[in-house]
């Protein structure tokens, strides 16, 4: 492998750790259904050229380079991570210990070693950003490439922010492995709504690691809509590190022919009196594969935790596969926790009912599948995003069922 010249000690250490492990294979427990083994053998461009795509979004990450366009809203700063740490020396000392990086995540090391442009979107205390900030995450490469991106979102006390991320591949791009790390810090009484739309090309492999730390009285509503890509892996980790924290995790994945979508979520309750609600749904089309692995930890101190998890899937094709694994580890005794996963097919009786009223089989199936996914889409309050997602999902389901 050819990498760029690494200067810092931490980058050198990270690349050594990555080299020792390589890309995850199906022998790694956490990557059993979502092996990236083939990437170990590829001749990759590790530093793909910069892009200059036009996008209307304020925040743009183009092949790992993040920049802000237009006027920053009042009370919002956009600076490099290094400058951010200089401005916030107290954060610098605790940043590295703020959460444990899980084992079996060589990709985090790869990102640490090779990422070139880590930027921070910083919302100051008491600031409510009225307009949602759109974040276009664009990939494009001339030859098979690995792209490292890292963005940090820091929401200070009593501030609130809505982020709409749209990840896509530019038409005509060569094969890309996108390794995206996001570190989000939501302070006391702050609110964050974050919608991720992952609609990438069939030759894109996208790994999203989103680590969210929440302090007391904060709320995060996170949505992950996985629409297209050969492979999408979402590692979503919530560290509920305060009291009265509300964490809402919503996910919808609609993998189609030759697509794999894997959601690995962790909710780590570390303090008392907090709640988490996790709702994931999947419609599996064609010969697709879906994976849901949801871990909930309730630490000994986290008494009176309410943690709920639900994952429901419809196999819309006889060739599709879904793998689910809920894992609860509860060390506190006074908690309410529940989890449930279901995987099934559309109800034949409901299909016959709709058809008996004159609705074609394909339309009846689309109607039932949309009704199934609507519960997740309806929770998106940003209207434009909600409509766009609905259109995309309808169109994907209709196209797949028409084949």
């Amino acid at each position: 492998m050819l990498y760029k010249e690494l200067t810092s000690a931490s980058q050198k250490e990270a690349i050594e750790r990555f080299k020792a492990k390589g890309f995850p294979t199906n022998k790694w427990e956490e990557w059993k259904y979502a092996s990236l083994k083939s990437w170990n053998e590829k001749d990759l461009d590790w530093t793909p050229a910069a892009l200059n795509e036009t996008s209307s979004a304020s925040l743009q990450t183009q092949n790992g380079n993040t920049s802000f366009h237009g006027t920053l809203p009042a009370g919002v700063e956009f600076i490099s991570f290094d400058a951010f740490l200089v401005a916030n020396p107290t954060i610098a000392t605790k940043w590295e210990q703020r959460f444990p990086i899980l084992d079996q995540n060589s990709l985090y090391d790869l990102n640490t070693a090779l990422v070139v442009n880590t930027q921070v979107l910083w919302v100051k205390a008491g600031v409510s950003v009225d307009q949602a900030i759109t974040h276009d995450f664009i990939l494009s490469a001339a030859q098979a490439s690995a792209v490292q991106s890292r963005v940090i979102v820091y929401v200070e006390t009593d501030a609130s922010l809505t982020l709409i991320e749209r990840a896509y591949t530019k038409e005509g791009s060569a094969e890309v492995l996108s390794n995206f790390v996001q570190e989000i810090y939501v302070n006391e009484k702050a609110n964050l709504t974050y919608v991720k739309e992952q609609d990438l090309a069939q030759n894109t492999t996208h790994i999203d690691h989103t680590f969210i730390t929440q302090l007391s009285n904060s709320q995060v509503d996170l949505f992950t809509f996985s629409l297209n890509a050969a492979y999408i892996r979402n590692n979503l980790h919530f560290y509920s590190d305060g009291e009265n924290v509300v964490s809402n995790l919503n996910g919808l994945y609609v993998p189609g022919e030759d697509q794999l979508m894997d959601s690995h979520t962790v909710v780590d309750h570390r303090k008392p009196n907090s709640e988490s609600h996790e709702l994931y749904k999947g419609v599996l089309l064609g010969n697709s594969t879906g994976v849901f692995n949801g871990k909930i930890f309730v630490r000994p101190d986290a008494q009176k935790t309410n943690a709920f998890q639900s994952c429901k899937n419809v196999l819309a094709s006889t060739r599709a596969t879904m793998n689910t694994k809920p894992q609860l580890e509860i060390w506190a005794d006074d908690v309410k926790c529940s989890h449930g996963t279901t995987t099934g097919q559309l109800n034949d009786e409901a299909l016959f009912y709709l058809r008996s009223r004159g609705i074609s089989l394909a339309n009846a199936r689309t109607l039932l599948l949309l009704a199934f996914v609507q519960e997740v889409i309806d929770r998106v309050t940003h209207q434009e995003t909600k409509l766009r997602l609905t259109d995309k999902i309808i169109s994907k389901i209709q196209t797949s069922l028409a084949i």
């Binding site: 409901a350 016959f352 009223r357 004159g358 074609s360 339309n363 039932l368 009704a371 609507q374 519960e375």
Partner: protein, 250 residues
């Protein structure tokens, strides 16, 4: 409009219909009665195109077309309607929403222009009055948490919207109290015209006090064993089915 000849059908290895013959003309109301397990609901299901049943012999013509050759949605578009004995609950799909799709798909099948939102609203309003159903029910997830009466009124509302040429009411009286029964029956009667026909499948005579049949057929062990006028229903109410069965020598 409907001509059933020697219809035989089974589910799995079990023969249920063993040679049904029935002619239905426009303007007529036919009641199909019979003891439990005689094949009444199977006949309704086979006509509507439920795939659980395999037709092993016979033919069904609907306005000259081979009905058995059509998909359930094509049968609906040709003017056939089944009011379900057990209307299905469909979470996330409202009556208003799916009926719009249904109406426009049927219009497309018939080469007619789709209706727009304003036309739907007007039409729905008119049809709602037939069965005394209100908008809030139609906006809710289909049949989810509906009472027995609400479910059946919703079936008749859909029938009013689709204006079928042949409506099959499968045990529409089951689970209804007397007031709900009257509302449902009144709805059916309002929809009656010289151009359409109705098949009322029922175990009991009481629905036939409100929907007066022109013909009554008794189904037993997969065959029509006796046919008559509306007075036959009254006779069945008084004497049960045994006298017919014993007349068959069984």
């Amino acid at each position: 409009m409907l001509s059933i000849k020697n219809l035989q059908a089974r589910i799995g290895e079990k023969e249920i219909l063993k040679g049904i013959n029935l002619e239905i003309k426009a303007g007529e109301v036919h009641a199909i009665m019979g003891p439990n397990g005689s094949g009444k609901s199977t006949l309704a299901s086979v006509l509507a195109g439920r795939e659980d049943y395999e037709v092993t012999a016979g033919s069904v013509e609907f306005f000259g077309k081979d009905l058995l050759d059509l998909a359930p949605e094509e049968r609906a578009a040709e003017g056939l309607f089944l009011a379900f004995q057990y209307p299905v609950e469909i979470p996330g799909v409202s009556t208003t929403n799916f009926m719009k799709s249904a109406v426009n798909e049927i219009r497309k099948y018939r080469g007619e222009e789709p209706l727009d939102a304003v036309q739907f609203l007007k039409m729905f309003k008119e049809k709602m009055s037939y069965v005394n159903i209100d908008q809030s029910l139609l906006s809710r997830a289909l049949n989810e948490g509906f009472s027995g009466g609400e479910k059946k009124r919703n079936e008749i509302f859909q029938m009013a919207v689709l204006e079928p040429k042949l409506a099959i009411l499968d045990e529409t009286d089951s689970g209804l109290d007397i007031d709900a029964l009257r509302i449902v029956a009144e709805g059916v009667n309002k929809l009656k015209s010289p151009d359409n026909a109705t098949i009322v499948v029922t175990h009991y005579q009481r629905l036939l006090d409100y929907i007066i049949p022109d013909f009554v057929h008794v189904l037993y062990k997969g065959k029509i064993v006796k046919s008559g006028g509306k007075e036959l229903a009254h006779e069945l109410e008084e004497r049960g089915y045994d006298w017919i069965i014993s007349a068959l020598g069984e």
